[in-house]
Amino acid sequence: MSAKTADKIATAVIVGVAAFIVLVLAGLLGFILYRGVGHISFHFLTSAPETIRKGGGIGPQLFNSVFLLVLTMIITIPIGLGAGIYMSEYAPANKITSGIRLIVEVLSSVPSIVVGLFGLLVIVNLFGFGFSLFSGALALTVFNLPLMVRITEQGLKGVPREQKEASLALGLSKWKTITSVMLPIAMPVILTGTILAAGRVFGEAAALLFTAGMSSPRLDFTNWNPLSPFSPLNPFRPAETLAVHIWKINSEGLAPDAAQIAAGASAVLVITVLVFNFAARWLGRYMYRKFTAIK
């Protein structure tokens, strides 16, 4: 075989594989949406699930997922930003810092189920928060922090050195330089990354099985007192999220329309993740354009 023929065959194979990957994603999305979208209705999105009868919805689960996402991000963002700023600006270049870097790397690759087990042992049992949204949010914080640190570091590394030095030369303190000069410049990167991290939180289930619990109490959506055990706003109640719900009905669903509910819920989950993705992309591009005045 001549070199040219080999080249042509190889190119064809590589292009074929690339097309195949695009097809797999298209098939995947197509399948989920095709199977699920038909089942999505206002009733499906707002009503409570049924255990045995047909026609259950995913209202509480959807609410729990959103609430948990907000709670997690409220805890994760300040800590992740702080730790990221430390790693990129304050950490001296020595052995301890590279040790910390290794620790962050290890934490980011700990399987989410192990994080969930740790949450069960320490947050749920030892600290006594029980199966609750708050426990779930803490477990997801652990799971998400390394990502947040990496995103912040990446954003700050992208800030032009001259800008940082100009600010320091004008007599601003280091902290002031970071918060009012560097963070705004790094914002597009950080924000894009944060939205993608949020998408990950929304779909995470393994870490939540043993922390946020696999059941949801009957929620009373007219009760907005955060201290009442039946109020949706109470962060100390058990909460099954959408992703956990999909897993549960797939493995032990008793309702006759369990397959449709799983399909519908998967479609909702995937659509949400798609929205997060596109929002991140769009926002990143928009902010980049706005800050750099490039059209």
Binding site: A6, I21, I79, Y86, S109, V142, S173
Partner: protein, 300 residues
């Protein structure tokens, strides 16, 4: 007088600086405390199987029978360990060539089209939640295997196939970065000598980026190893070493997911599950160190 004024002005600056330093230090301290306590708690629970319940380590790692309710209870985790390794390695075997092709396509063959269409597709694949992968696996791959091959359709093949799609983005992203970082001179030199594109890829690009590609593959295996729900949904969950790829099997994660809720804290059966979690965590460390080692080689 002038000096004291200056000092007063400087004070808020210094205070501000301290606030920043202490705050970021606290954040990083929280992170370190977390990982240390994860290791400590999982290890103390996982090791108590051996020290409190006196199950022998060799029995746990090499035993073939897992029956926590038996008389006496037997804890042989080899089927789970085997399941975890075989699914994740098989997944990497499927995903690695695909990822390499995708990376080559994006960097060498059609950079514009690749960046515009293939990259977002890969990123989307990374963003799809694992339960959704599990659901699709359960409703597409498992019935397909059931029709085509003997058996129930669940098993290592189904698990590996689902995992391969899940780790494809991890490997592709790292391979793409590695190919993009390759010095231009290398490729141009090869082209100038009259090589075709494939010869350049095969003889120049592949060998030079091999450590980075290996890093990607190890990270992919690590991710597959720790994945719980998607695998649990399609693998069948029988605690045996299967005779074929299409027979029900189990992994470390699926065993933990299924049984953790049904055992009482502190019982032998529960501690044995923590030992499985400890094995998972230990393997995570091993993967991280392999990656570190590979990255060290890359610099040479």
């Amino acid at each position: 007088m002038a000096q004291s004024l200056e000092r007063q002005k400087a004070k808020p600056h210094i205070a501000e600086e301290w606030v920043g330093k202490v705050y970021t230090l606290l954040c990083i301290a929280f992170l370190i405390t977390t990982i240390v306590s994860i290791v400590y708690f999982v290890a103390s629970k996982g090791l108590s199987t051996f020290f409190v319940n006196h199950v022998s380590l060799t029995n746990l790692v090499t035993g073939l029978k897992w029956s926590p309710d038996g008389q006496p209870p037997v804890f042989g985790a080899l089927p789970f360990i085997f399941g975890s390794f075989s699914t994740s390695i098989l997944a990497a075997v499927i995903a690695a060539p695909l990822s390499f092709c995708a990376a080559v396509f994006m960097i060498e063959i059609a950079p514009k089209f690749g960046r515009r269409y293939l990259q977002p597709v890969i990123e989307l694949l990374a963003g799809i939640p694992s339960v959704v992968y599990g659901f699709v696996g359960l409703s597409v791959i498992v019935p397909f295997f059931r029709d085509v091959f003997p058996g129930q359709g669940v098993g290592i093949a189904a698990g590996a196939l689902v995992l391969s799609v899940m780790i494809l983005p991890t490997i592709t992203t790292i391979a793409t970065d590695a190919l993009a970082a390759l010095p231009k001179g290398l490729k141009e030199g090869s082209y100038a000598l009259g090589s075709t594109r494939w010869q350049t890829i095969y003889r120049i690009v592949l060998p030079t980026t091999l450590p980075a590609l290996m890093t990607g593959i190890v990270l992919g295996i690590a991710r597959a190893f720790g994945e719980a729900l998607a695998v649990q949904m399609v693998i069948g969950n029988a605690p045996h070493i299967p005779h074929s790829l299409f027979e029900s099997a189990s992994t470390l994660t699926s065993a933990i997911t299924l049984s953790m809720g049904n055992t009482a804290m502190g019982s032998v059966a529960n501690n044995a599950l923590w030992s499985l979690a400890l094995i998972l965590m230990f393997m995570t460390f091993v993967f991280v160190f392999i990656v570190r080692w590979l990255e060290g080689r890359k610099k040479l």
